[in-house]
């Protein structure tokens, strides 16, 4: 998709500042600052959770206290004071948000500002005949509204906040929660297990092709809050779902912590497509403020011929630590990872993927495009592992880095570990800058330097952008332009 005139208009319109940098005055319910067993109990109680889940949380909390924060990533940030964070902040609402009428109008306006038509019109502005998008909005820590539930219910799709799912589908939650990302997986995931407040739960029954794109918007609003959402998506045999996730946060001088866990499970012949546009507040140009984004995302292709595809456009966050991965357990399963990561100013990103080939005839493809500008640092870190029993594995990896300016950094840290001779693994990486020829060509045709960079970058990232659902692709293109503002000239 080329940068259309429309896109350019949007870039121009959005230019100037972080678009989502406002905060909403909504009364929130906070848990006291800090983290201890009581906070874990408080969160659990607030959600009215069953005993087994509380036990599960407490177990994770006990583990977390013994774990050490990882330091292997190429990231530099002051130590996080885990006692100086609110672990639970919920917008005050009346009795459970069952319908939109009950939701605080101020909140709905927030979502309107975000550009999510949460009410009736699911068709996004300007995109004719676009499929309907069901939205689950997570505000600070709590899911506030889920649209189109009825319509989804008719085909048997379960799409609700995870706190509701615990009550309505305890057997499913109990069966799958923590099976892809074990409680002890890593420091941030374990923390999430202890304090996760809400998130999204999706279950697609056998043979169902989900009739619309499912979407969640996450937003950190309250000051000093951490957001610890948890997403669990299960695609039963032969089903298909495309899931979109968008993230924003208002401008704040303090750093805010986001430690989410996403678990995907695909059974036989099922396919999950998971797209993320991450636009958390990246901090100002001197690196003040911004979100610390420590996210564990993992998909398990448990069934034969199942497929999980991650697509991410990462433009926000002061710190990104994120490795959406696929465990290819079922024979013939497929994992894909498409990523564009943009860092500007003082942003730091250490992101990539893991493809663990366990089943026979499993295939994976990794396309990663890093773009660094300003004083930022952008690292691709990836692992392709082929276990002994995985015959006839194919992997193709391409990770390219683009440097804009001589004060930024781009790193590539791929790991390739193969224990089966029938595997065919290919890995390529390049590092380059935008050539003077490309700039000259664009500028000779009347583009200013910033537009020229936006166009070249969009072309560079095309392989990834075209994997996004159309509604997101437009937004992502605009975002790329905005994120790189001020990086040239």
């Amino acid at each position: 998709m080329s940068a259309t005139a429309e896109t350019k208009d949007r870039v121009a319109e959005l230019a100037g500042a972080y678009k989502h940098g406002w905060s909403t005055d909504i009364e929130s319910v906070f848990a006291p600052k800090g983290l201890n067993e009581d906070i874990v109990r408080y969160i659990s109680e607030k959600q009215n959770e069953p005993e087994w889940l509380l036990e599960w949380r407490l177990k994770a909390f006990a583990m977390w206290q013994k774990l050490e924060e990882p330091d292997w990533a190429m990231l530099n940030y002051p130590p996080i004071d885990y006692q100086d964070i609110y672990y639970y902040a919920a917008p005050k609402t009346k009795e459970g948000p069952n319908s939109l009428d009950e939701v605080d109008p101020e909140l709905l306006r927030t979502y309107e500002k975000l550009g999510i038509p949460i009410a009736e019109q699911a068709v996004l502005a300007g995109v004719k005949g676009a499929p309907k998008v069901a939205v689950d909005a997570v505000f600070d820590s709590v899911s506030v509204a889920t649209t189109y539930r009825e319509e989804l219910k008719r085909v048997g799709v379960v799409f609700m906040s995870i706190s509701e799912a615990v009550h309505e589908h305890p057997e499913l939650v109990k069966k799958y929660l923590g099976t892809v990302v074990p409680q002890r997986d890593n420091y941030f995931a374990t923390l999430n297990c202890a304090v996760f407040s809400d998130g999204t739960f999706v279950y697609i029954p056998k043979g169902v092709r989900c009739p619309m794109e499912l979407s969640t918007y996450f937003r950190i609003n309250a000051e000093n809050t951490g957001q610890f959402e948890r997403t669990l998506i299960i695609a039963d045999e032969g089903s298909y779902v495309s899931y979109l996730e968008g993230c924003t946060a208002p401008m704040r001088d303090e750093n805010q912590l986001h430690a989410a866990v996403v678990e995907l499970i695909a059974l036989d012949d099922a396919e999950i497509k998971y797209s993320t546009v991450q636009n958390w507040y990246p901090g100002d140009k001197d690196g003040k403020g911004g979100i610390y984004n420590f996210v564990t995302k993992r998909g398990l292709c448990r069934g034969r011929n199942s497929k999980i595809s991650w697509t991410q456009v990462e433009t926000g966050s002061a710190i990104t630590w994120k490795y959406p991965s696929c465990i290819l357990e079922g024979d013939g399963s497929v994992g894909e990872f498409y990523s564009v990561a943009v860092t500007n100013n003082r942003q730091q990103a250490d992101t990539g993927t893991k493809m663990i080939h366990i089943g026979k005839n499993t295939r994976s493809k990794i396309i990663s495009k890093g773009i660094s500008a300003g004083h930022s640092s952008n690292t691709y870190r990836g692992l392709v592992r082929v276990l002994g029993g995985a015959d006839d594995v194919r992997n193709f990896t391409q990770c390219d880095s683009l440097l804009l300016g001589d004060t930024c950094a781009a790193h590539t840290v791929p790991y390739i570990e193969v224990r089966n001779p029938t595997a065919q693994i290919e890995h390529e990486a390049t590092t380059s800058k935008i050539s003077d020829d490309q700039m000259f060509y664009c500028m000779a045709r009347g583009l200013d330097p910033e537009e020229a960079v936006a166009i070249v970058v969009n072309g560079y990232a095309k392989e990834v952008l075209r994997e996004l659902p159309m509604e997101f692709a437009v937004e992502a293109q605009a975002l790329l332009g905005i994120s790189l503002e001020g990086s040239v000239g």
Partner: protein
């Protein structure tokens, strides 16, 4: 709080206490060794968790004590002749069981334009200049420290400004009947401005359970050229850890290596560019068979602009082996116009083998060309079928294809006798590998 010292660390300490008093050199050197030993004791051997050691196996070093040879071992000229590169016209410098052997070396044939003396002799002579060689690797890891603590044997080669040595130098390291032997060797090679030298090394051993810890420190001034080849043919029970520290100006450093030996065998090339125009070329062929663990680690520090580097790695892995390549290119902020390339290809012959690659780029400058590629795979069934249909047995077909896979690297090796030795080493390995698969046994 006292923590229990692991027994293998205590073994190294004991070896130091036993051998140390006999080491040559003055008080100052003794102090340096003591400090290095202290650092070694506090560092301990690297653990699996250490990023640079994640694929390696140091178990053999933990299972047994290793100490340096206290007496001068003997070997016959015939043994050295057999080990050396056939047909290479070159003065030989010979180490046997970690000790320099003057009688087996051709000291009188060395070109008189260079200085070349064993480190042991230099230390015995009480040479003051020894302090200027930078022998103390205070910032190094456990192997650097151990090597410094046990510093007694090695070579110091100086090629003065403008001296171009036509004839190569040949270095032979032989380990024979030496269970529990530790060879801690230190080579210092200093190339003056415009100096040129070729080195051909052969490291060879029997199946003794020995430990080679070889550190080479190389500095190249502007316009110098140092072309090195190395055949690592250690015995199947030996632990081999060798490390080349290279610092170069606007100069050329080349190393071509073939490795078939060792139980756990590791080579590291750490190169730092200090002025514009430097080039490093590294070619490495690893042939690993049953029970062998081969590691290659590089760190190329492009600290200044306009330097180029090329790393090519080919690994062939037979039954029950593991071979890993961890290469890193660091391009610092000022190092514009850097051109750094890495290529790592591995060929797996058996499903019990494990190939790992981690070609890493760390880049802080924008106007650079850096690329790496890595592949892992097996022999193409089509190619095997083609050769089978022309009458080659499956085994012969495999050998032909493996040879072709590594020949590309071997064929550019100079001079010719060394190239032939590389190919012969590869063929020797191929005679024993790939281990016959069941369906081939008729």
């Amino acid at each position: 709080m006292m923590t229990q010292t692991p027994s293998h660390i205590a073994d190294f300490k004991r070896a130091y206490e036993t051998a140390g008093p006999a080491f040559p050199g003055g008080k100052q050197l003794g102090g340096m060794r003591d400090q290095a030993m202290e650092r070694f004791l506090s560092l301990g051997l690297p653990v699996r968790k250490a990023e640079n050691w994640r694929y390696f196996d140091l178990t053999p070093l933990r299972d047994q004590a290793y100490s340096p040879a206290l007496t001068l071992p003997t070997a016959t000229l015939a043994m050295i002749d057999e080990a050396a590169v056939p047909g290479l016209e070159a003065p030989r410098l010979v180490f046997v069981n970690g000790r320099f052997s003057r009688t087996l070396s051709d000291m009188d044939r060395l070109p008189d334009t260079i200085t070349c003396e064993s480190l042991h002799q230099r230390l015995l002579d009480g040479d003051d200049t020894i302090n200027r060689l930078g022998l103390d690797l205070a910032d190094g890891d456990a192997f650097d420290q151990l090597n410094t603590a046990m510093l007694a044997e090695g070579l110091v080669i100086d090629v003065p400004d403008g001296v171009k040595v036509d004839q190569p130098l040949e270095l032979v390291y032989l380990t024979s009947k030496a269970d529990g032997l530790a060879s801690h060797l230190r080579l210092v090679i200093r190339m003056g401005k415009g100096a040129e030298l070729r080195l051909a090394e052969t490291i060879i051993g029997d199946d003794s359970r020995a430990f080679t810890n070889l550190i080479t420190q190389i500095t190249l001034a502007d316009d110098a050229r140092l072309i090195c080849t190395r055949r690592q043919l250690e015995g199947s029970q030996t632990v081999h850890v060798s490390r080349n520290h290279v610092t170069l100006g606007d100069a050329l450093y080349e190393l071509a290596q073939i490795s078939t030996g060792g139980k756990s065998a590791r080579h590291e090339l750490l190169a730092t560019f200090t002025s514009e125009g430097g080039h490093v070329e590294y070619k490495n062929v690893q042939l690993a068979g049953e029970g062998q663990i081969h590691d290659t680690l590089t760190l190329f520090d492009h600290a200044v602009p306009q330097c180029t580097s090329m790393q090519t790695y080919r690994g062939v892995l037979d039954k029950g082996s593991k071979a890993s390549f961890q290469g890193k290119v660091l391009v610092r902020q000022d190092a514009q116009k850097t051109d750094a390339r890495q290529k790592a290809d591995s060929l797996i012959l058996d499903r019990s083998a494990e190939a790992n690659a981690k070609p890493e780029l760390e880049i802080y400058a924008d106007d650079v060309q850096c690329a790496h590629g890595a592949t892992v795979g097996e022999l193409s069934q089509d190619q095997l079928f083609y050769l089978n249909s022309r009458g080659l047995s499956p085994r012969e077909a495999k050998a032909v294809l493996v040879e072709a896979f590594i020949a590309e690297l071997c064929e550019s090796v100079e001079p010719e006798p060394v190239r032939n030795a590389f190919l012969a080493d590869a063929r020797t390995w191929l005679d024993r590998h790939p281990v016959k698969a069941a369906e081939e046994v008729r």
